[in-house]
Structure formats: structure tokens, C-alpha cells
């Protein structure tokens, strides 16, 4: 061949020229080029060629393309692909069902996780000013912990002194440790979701108000705003506006507004809002710096960052004439509160952790991978069935590219069928998922824009991931080989298939190990000796009326045979968080130890079965020493510390007895030392704590006998009604409250368990399909072996052997990884279990059992079949 014209120009021509004209045009142009080349030289010829290509453009491009002389729609080929795909799906119903179900279950998991993640990420975004609201955290002194609230002087000061701060709002939630009693006519209930808040509340937050004026409803003293749910609870059909609610049997509050119930994705949930001006005691009303109990939000001006404002705070604190307390503050975005665990310690909503969101995301991804691998494996293993079709298509002129498109298209089809299955499954599973996740999702939530787009993207991703390898393999078949008729199986895919199955089992084994470790730790935390007995202990609210006649109340209650013990306390032993600091003057005047304080009755130790190590507990004498007749500074307080507190001072429990002590203005002596007991979750090391003899209690603890609890409860309630008619009988079991500390872990273990089960289930789907295929392939071999005398057992072993090896490899690879990851997780707990052999062996046993169950069904059938059926076809 002679010289060739420019390749680019040629390609351009091919691209734009209609097929029907291409041959004629290119031929003519080539001829001219060859001619020009000889006459004018290469450059000129090429130039002319280019010019001619361009001169053809208007004609092909604008006029001709619309008319087709030869009618061949590009969709013709696709409609044929579609037809063939549908026929294939229905021809092999079993395999198609395995594929669609496996992918469907996998995608359903992924969809649920997505739904959950999107919900968690949407927290607090519904506020119009969400981006401009920050919450203040406080460090009272350099070494104390950062608390997610601030002193009540902070917000007013920030509004006054910082021009960047538009406004701010404080929330005080007393109800979390001292519930309110709310009454309207005959409706009396105990309420703990009652917040005191500034009149700016509705300026900062966008909670919609159904009745009342958002600007003024929280201005006047004794104003109360309630949610529509509470309005129904107390007022029924009546209009609550302007009505009076009696709180704690003392004060009347006027209803000035009714608001909609807060959306689920809010970090605060409350039933009542009470105006700040309703406070009667100076403790809350006066601006003070020594008590950081107020959750404080600031609304910043637009285009001002939290860090800019934060940097200006130390200056305004320094200007204060307040030498005793110089707290430092940090500001955090509102939208971070939910996922970064900010702003929780004062009773505002349990938080999620971003980390757990990532873990769920990864689990979802792993399940999708397992499901995709199933598709890949089944599709490549069964490529033989398509070999003739591929050969034929190639002979008839299909390029590899066309075939690749065809098979990718098929995987898209299967995946979209799976999406439909997944949506149905999600709808069915939604109620149980709600229980599992502790959220309330509805079917309508499934059709939000974000979710729909993500699911579509996910479907495309999965179909590409799952389909790309089979498409490459299938489209690469050589027509000559596959059409000769001797083509039985493709050797090339075997290794990849084994590799992928091993991967699937690695994931499954890892998830099983993870699950059992989480379960073990949970069990450990709930079974470990706490140092006190929380079995069958009821926690009930206390009112001054009960306290006044407590002696007779107690005697009356103890008459009930089911009631074993009765005692009083300021806080539940599972949540001591009142901070004090103690100095032992005889030991070290300088050394100050932070302790959690709790005020209890004299019989508390016996009732709770806490062990005393040294000294004694409080006596009547200790009460006399602090009686109200004595002046405060002359009172002598007795303190009972735990071992940890004494250890901080570097002395033994015996040495500590009788030492003079000072605690937040109280002078006294150490009366006794108790054995350490767990008053917080096992995440934390046991902290120093101290008992105080002051008679200022919030709770009655009643221990009842473990037999016939229902009956005892109703009897106790009867007596309670008679003795304290104004105090609602609303109890909580102390061990329930303790277990609630591990809500996150409980949820995690359930989710882990569920998803691990599903992962194994899906992996077995794939295994089932693979073994079915292998047995079909080996039918003749099995027949021959059987005829020559092999037993059924030998044959089953032969077929299962290959998979057993893979499981073993997967086990050896997955165990160390899971072990490392899970011991990392365990390290978060101050008190933890060992991983040990049990989870590892359990995972191996479970995987082997499940895998053998799913393979043996098929292999047994093949091994027991009559060899004649397999051999007669030859």
C-alpha cells in the first residue's frame, strides 16, 4: 500500500460520516489523496485531505444524518440483548433467584444502613440558623474535665460584650435529676423533660409554635410552653392557652404557647419550656461563675466563625472582677453535637458516635461486596452456558466491546431486579429495624431524594463491580474454540473464584468474631460484681410530704411482705455526678481531690449491700452534728469515702479514719471507707466518691423480693397511693437503669449479630450456587466413580473438600485481623473481658457447619443419583 492520509482526519470522518456513505466517501478521498500525493507531495496532499473531510461535514452532519437510507436502529441490538437476557434469566430460574435474592438482601442491608446514616447526619439541620448556632463548653479550672454546659453568667456576658454574638439562650434541665410533679385538675404526672430557658429560645431555634407568640411567650415569670402531646395529656380537648398548670404542688404556671412535638432528629427533646424569670431562688437567677450547669447556645452573626469568637472570650473573662473562678470556654457547632458526643452530660439526649456510623457503613459495604462476589462467581462459573452464543455473535461480527456492553447490561438488569426485591425487603424489615436502631423510620422516609439517588448510584456501582469481571471473561472467548464444541469449562476463572470465595468467608468469620466479642463484653459488664446489689431495686421520686413523715412511711411500707428494704438517696448509685472537692487537712493541705458526692440515709450501705473496709457509716450522732440548730460553719460533717479517694491521698483506709477533712465549705472528719463499687459505666475507671450525711434526698430506693414481682409491685403501689397521694408512683428498676448505660453496646451487638448472620446467609447463597454448578459439571465423573465402587460418603467428601480448604485459609487470614480490631475496641473499656479462644472457635465451627450444610445438600444429591442418568447421554 502506498502512503496513508492523516489518521486523525480519517477517524474524524469515520466518526461523523453516516455508515451508509462511509465506504464511498473514504474510498474516493483515498484515491484523491494518492493522486495528490504523487503530484503535490505529502504536505499538500494531507492538507487537501483535511479540507475535503471538512467540506463533507455540513452535508453528513446537518442534512444527511436525519435520513437513513439503510434502516438499522442502534436500539435493535440492545433489544436483542434484552430479549436474550430475559430468556436466560427465566431459563435458569434457580440461579437467577439466588442472584437476585443474594443481591436483594445485600442491598436491603445497605439501604437500611444508608437510611440510618442519612438520618443521623440530618440531626439539627432543620433549624434555619443551624450553621450559626454554637454550644459552649466549659473548663472550670485547668485540670478539670470539660463539661458541655456553662455557668449562667456566660450567655448574658457574651451577648453584652461580643458584637459578633447576635443572641444566645440558656437551658437548665433540673428534671434530669429531680423530676417535677405537674398537675391540672385530676391529671397528675411526674415530668422530667421540663426546661427553664431564656425568652430568646425561639429566636435561636426554629421549633415551630402552633399557638402563642414566639417573641413574648417566655418573657413573663411563671409562663409555660408545652408540646401538643403534653397539651393532649393534660387538657384533652380543652384549649390550653391561658390555663394554669400547678407544678410541684406549689406554683401555678400559665400556658402561653403550644408547640409542635420536636422532630426526631433534634438533639434536645422536651415536653415543657418554662421562662427563665420563673426562677425564684437567687442561685439560678443571679449571674454566677461557679456552677456550670446551664447548657448555653450562642447565635453568631453571619460569616463569623466559631473560632473567631472563641478567641475573643478569654479577654472578656479576664476583665471580670472574679478572682476565684476563671473558666475557659470552647464553642462547638450545633450540627456536631449529635455525632461528636458534645453537649450531653446534663441530660440532653443520648448521642451517637460518628465512629459507629463508620462501622455500620463498612459492614454495609462488606455485605454488598459479598453479594456482588456471588454474582461474579456464579456468572463466570456458568459462562460455559453462554459460550456458544458468544461464539456465534462474534462470528456474525460483534466486537468484544459489544459483548462487554451486553454482559454489563445483563448485570444492570439483575441488579435492578434486586433493587426491587431490596425495597420490598426494607419495607418488611422496617419495624424490626426501628427496634434495632432505636429510631422511628417510616416507609415514606424511603423515598426521600437523597436516599433514592444514593440507591440508584449504589445499584450502578454494584452492577459494574459485580458485572465487570464476568463481562471481561465472557467477551474474551475465542469463537473458534467455543464453537468447536469441546469447550466445557473455563479454567481461567477457577483461581479468581476461589480467591473471591475465600474473601467472602473472611468477611463472614470476621463478623462472627466481632459479634461474639461484643456479646461477651456486654455479658461481662452486666454480670460483673458491681460492689453493690442492684437486683429488684425500685427507684421512686421523693417529695417533702413523704420526707416529713418518713419514719412512719418506712414502717408502713416494710409491713408489706415483699418489701425487703427501704432507703433514701440524693442520686441513683448508677449516675453519681455531683462534683465536689475534698481536702484532708491532716494529710496534705494543698492536695485537693475531686469526688462525686451523694447524700444518703443512715441505712444506705446495708440496703445496697456495699462493703465497709474501715471505720463505720453515719450514725445518729453525725446527724446531730449537722442539725439546723448549729451554725453552718460550726457543723461537723462526717464523710465516708471509697477506696479510690483514699488511694488518691496516698494513705491506707485505716489511716484515713478520723482525719480532718474539708469539702466545699463543709468541715468534718472521715468516718469510714467503703470498698470501691461501680457507680458509672465500665468504660470508666472507678472514680473517687464520698457519702454525705446531709438530709436532702431526691429518691426512695425500695428493694423488693425477687418472687412474684408483679404482685409485690401492685401492693407497693397501693400503699404508696394511700401514704403519698400527691406523688405519682412512677418507678424504675435500678438494674434496668444500669443496663441502660450500655445502650450503645447493646444496640451494637444486635446490629452486629443481625448483619453478621445476613452476611453468612448471603455468602452461603453463593456457595450453594457454586456447588450446584460444580456437581452438574462433574456429574459424569461422579457416575464413573460410583460405577467403579466409590461410596456416597467418599463422593460427598470429594466435592466438599475444595471448599473446606478455602474456609480454612479464610479462617487463618481473618482471625488475626478480627482479633486486632476487636482488642482495639475492648481497650475503650476500663473493665473488660478477654477475647480468648471461644469466639474464634465459635466462628470456625459456625462457618464450617453452615457452609457444609449448604454444600452437602447438593453434593449428597449428586452422589446419590443413579449413575446411569449421568452416563447414558454419551
Amino acid at each position: 500500500m502506498g502512503p496513508k492520509p492523516s489518521k486523525t482526519a480519517r477517524a474524524l470522518l469515520k466518526l461523523f460520516c453516516d455508515q451508509a456513505y462511509h465506504e464511498e466517501v473514504e474510498g474516493d478521498l483515498d484515491e484523491l489523496f494518492a493522486d495528490n500525493y504523487q503530484r503535490l507531495g505529502k504536505r499538500k496532499a494531507n492538507w487537501l485531505y483535511w479540507a475535503d473531510v471538512f467540506k463533507h461535514f455540513n452535508w453528513f452532519f446537518f442534512t444527511r444524518r436525519r435520513f437513513k437510507l439503510i434502516s438499522q436502529k442502534p436500539l435493535d441490538m440492545w433489544s436483542n440483548y434484552f430479549k436474550v437476557a430475559v430468556r436466560n434469566i427465566f431459563k435458569h430460574k434457580g440461579y437467577s433467584a439466588l442472584n437476585v435474592m443474594g443481591l436483594g438482601v445485600g442491598m436491603a442491608c445497605a439501604m437500611l444502613i444508608l437510611l440510618y446514616a442519612l438520618h443521623e447526619l440530618s440531626y439539627d439541620r432543620f433549624h434555619v440558623n443551624a450553621d450559626r448556632i454554637v454550644v459552649a463548653h466549659t473548663k472550670m479550672t485547668g485540670e478539670s474535665d470539660e463539661s458541655s454546659s456553662a455557668p449562667n453568667a456566660f450567655v448574658p456576658l457574651a451577648i453584652r460584650e461580643l458584637p459578633e454574638v447576635e443572641t444566645g439562650v440558656r437551658i437548665f434541665n433540673r428534671g434530669s435529676y429531680f423530676p417535677f410533679i405537674v398537675k391540672y385538675k385530676d391529671n397528675v404526672f411526674q415530668e422530667d423533660r421540663l426546661f427553664h430557658t431564656d425568652s430568646t429560645f425561639f429566636k435561636v431555634f426554629s421549633f415551630p409554635l402552633m399557638k402563642g407568640n414566639p417573641q413574648t411567650c417566655l418573657v413573663n415569670p411563671k409562663s409555660i410552653v408545652l408540646t401538643s402531646e403534653m397539651a393532649r395529656k393534660y387538657f384533652g380537648e380543652e384549649d390550653p392557652m391561658g390555663k394554669l398548670l400547678r407544678i410541684d404542688n406549689r406554683h401555678d404556671y400559665q400556658v402561653t404557647g403550644v408547640m409542635e412535638d420536636q422532630p426526631q432528629n433534634s438533639h434536645i427533646h422536651f415536653d415543657f419550656l418554662v421562662s427563665w424569670t420563673s426562677f425564684t431562688n437567687s442561685f439560678n437567677l443571679n449571674e454566677r461563675w461557679d456552677n456550670a450547669s446551664y447548657t448555653s447556645y450562642l447565635l453568631l452573626d453571619e460569616n463569623v466563625s466559631a473560632t473567631q469568637v472563641e478567641a475573643k472570650i478569654p479577654a472578656i473573662i479576664d476583665r471580670l472582677e472574679n478572682p476565684r473562678y476563671t473558666p475557659s470556654f470552647t464553642l462547638h457547632p450545633l450540627t456536631d453535637i449529635h455525632l461528636r458526643g458534645l453537649g450531653g452530660s446534663f441530660g440532653l439526649e443520648a448521642q451517637n458516635e460518628l465512629r459507629y456510623l463508620y462501622i455500620f457503613g463498612i459492614i454495609g459495604l462488606l455485605i454488598l461486596v459479598i453479594a456482588s462476589v456471588n454474582y461474579t462467581n456464579l456468572a463466570t462459573a456458568r459462562a460455559v452456558h453462554r459460550a456458544r452464543e458468544i461464539g456465534m455473535r462474534k462470528v456474525l461480527g460483534a466486537y468484544r466491546f459489544n459483548l462487554f456492553n451486553q454482559f454489563i447490561g445483563e448485570s444492570v438488569m439483575v441488579v435492578f431486579m434486586a433493587v426491587v426485591v431490596a425495597i420490598l425487603l426494607v419495607m418488611l424489615a422496617l419495624p424490626s429495624f426501628n427496634e434495632l436502631s432505636g429510631r422511628v423510620f417510616m416507609i415514606a422516609d424511603l423515598f426521600q431524594f437523597d436516599l433514592v439517588t444514593s440507591v440508584l448510584l449504589m445499584a450502578l456501582l454494584v452492577s459494574t463491580l459485580a458485572g465487570i469481571y464476568p463481562a471481561l471473561v465472557l467477551s474474551g472467548f475465542k469463537p473458534l474454540i467455543v464453537l468447536k464444541g469441546s469447550f466445557k469449562s473455563s479454567k481461567g476463572g477457577v483461581f479468581i473464584r476461589r480467591f473471591l470465595v475465600t474473601g467472602q468467608f473472611m468477611i463472614s468469620i470476621g463478623l462472627i468474631i466481632g459479634t461474639s466479642v461484643v456479646f461477651n463484653q456486654l455479658d461481662y459488664m452486666q454480670q460483673k460484681e458491681l460492689g453493690y446489689n442492684n437486683d429488684n431495686v425500685l427507684m421512686l421520686p421523693l417529695s417533702s410530704s413523704i420526707l416529713r413523715n418518713y419514719a412512719s412511711f418506712k414502717a408502713e411500707m416494710l409491713k408489706e411482705s415483699g418489701v425487703l428494704d427501704l432507703t433514701l438517696t440524693s442520686e441513683s448509685p448508677t449516675s453519681l455526678n455531683a462534683g465536689y472537692s475534698i481536702i484532708l487537712k491532716d494529710v496534705d493541705v494543698e492536695k485537693e481531690v475531686y469526688v462525686n458526692g451523694v447524700r444518703t440515709d443512715l441505712d444506705f450501705l446495708d440496703a445496697m449491700q456495699i462493703e465497709l473496709v474501715a471505720g463505720s457509716f453515719f450514725s445518729e450522732l453525725d446527724l446531730k452534728n449537722i442539725s439546723r440548730d448549729i451554725e453552718y460553719k460550726d457543723r461537723v460533717f462526717a464523710f465516708v469515702l471509697n477506696e479510690e479517694a483514699v488511694r488518691r491521698f496516698g494513705i491506707s483506709p485505716e489511716e484515713a479514719i478520723g482525719k480532718r477533712a474539708h469539702m466545699n465549705g463543709r468541715n468534718g472528719i472521715v468516718r469510714g471507707v467503703v470498698k470501691d463499687f461501680h457507680f458509672a459505666s465500665m468504660h470508666e475507671k472507678i472514680q473517687p466518691m464520698s457519702f454525705l450525711p446531709e438530709r436532702d434526698f431526691n429518691n426512695v430506693l425500695v428493694r423488693i423480693s425477687g418472687q412474684n414481682i408483679e404482685n409485690t409491685l401492685s401492693k407497693v403501689q397501693e400503699r404508696w397511693r394511700r401514704l403519698a397521694p400527691n406523688v405519682p408512683f412512677e418507678y424504675e428498676f435500678m438494674d434496668d437503669e444500669y443496663n441502660n448505660l450500655y445502650n450503645t453496646e447493646q444496640r451494637l451487638s444486635k446490629l452486629f449479630g443481625t448483619f453478621a448472620t445476613l452476611a453468612i446467609f448471603i455468602a452461603c447463597f453463593g456457595l450453594f450456587g457454586l456447588i450446584a454448578f460444580v456437581t452438574a459439571q462433574k456429574a459424569r465423573e461422579i457416575g464413573v466413580r460410583k460405577v467403579l465402587g466409590a461410596s456416597v460418603g467418599q463422593l460427598v467428601l470429594l466435592l466438599n473438600k475444595g471448599f473446606a480448604g478455602l474456609i480454612l485459609i479464610a479462617f487463618m487470614l481473618a482471625t488475626p485481623v478480627a482479633y486486632l480490631l476487636m482488642s482495639g475496641w475492648l481497650r475503650e473499656f476500663e473493665y473488660r473481658t478477654h477475647i480468648g479462644l471461644q469466639p474464634v472457635l465459635l466462628s470456625l465451627l459456625m462457618t464450617v457447619l453452615i457452609a457444609f450444610a449448604s454444600t452437602s445438600f447438593q453434593s449428597l444429591r449428586a452422589a446419590r443419583a443413579n449413575p446411569v442418568d449421568a452416563l447414558k447421554e454419551e
Binding site: E23, E31, R64, F67
Partner: protein, 113 residues
Amino acid sequence: MKGTYLGEFEELILLTIGILRDQAYGVAIKRELEKQTGRTISIGAVHASTNRLEEKGYLESAFGEVTKERGGKRKKYYQVTLFGQKALKTAMDLRRQMWSQIAPDAFTIKTSF
């Protein structure tokens, strides 16, 4: 009938194809036309015309044999259909008829010397 209208270039193409008889393919048409008219003709224009004329039914085409020249691409040979011949004839008749009505002295060139 509107369909029988022929543009000047189209008429020339048809005539050229008539001259070339069974050798009328793109490049040959272009060369012959250039030779006859002395103008430079773009191959694109030839293709545009032949294909449009074929669509209108004045031309029919057939691919020739595969040869080694032109990189194995076949030539597309054109032939004037009966309909095309009729159209050419109509055009010619029209002209002849109109020429015949022009007075012999109407176009005489007046020289001034």
C-alpha cells in the same frame, strides 16, 4: 411537477455521468466535470449532489468489485435512471423551446467602433 426541477450543478452531474457511462464514480465524475467546465470541483460537492439525486430517483448506484487500490474500498458507480433521463430531456427541451423564441437580433452585441 416540482420534482423535475434540476439545478445547474445537478444537471451537469447527470450529464457527466451520462458521458462516463459505466465508469461514473465519485473521483471520475469530479475529474470529468473539472475537465469539461474548467472549474475546480470539490469532491464533497459531488458526493452531496450524487446522493441527493439518488434520493430523488434520478440516479441509481451499485458498488463495484473490491480492488487493491483505494485500500480495499469499493467504488460506487452511478447510472442515470429513466426518470433522470426524462428530467434531463425536459430541461433541454425547455431551453430549446425558449431559445427558439428569442429574436435572432435580440442578443447581437453592439460594438461602438
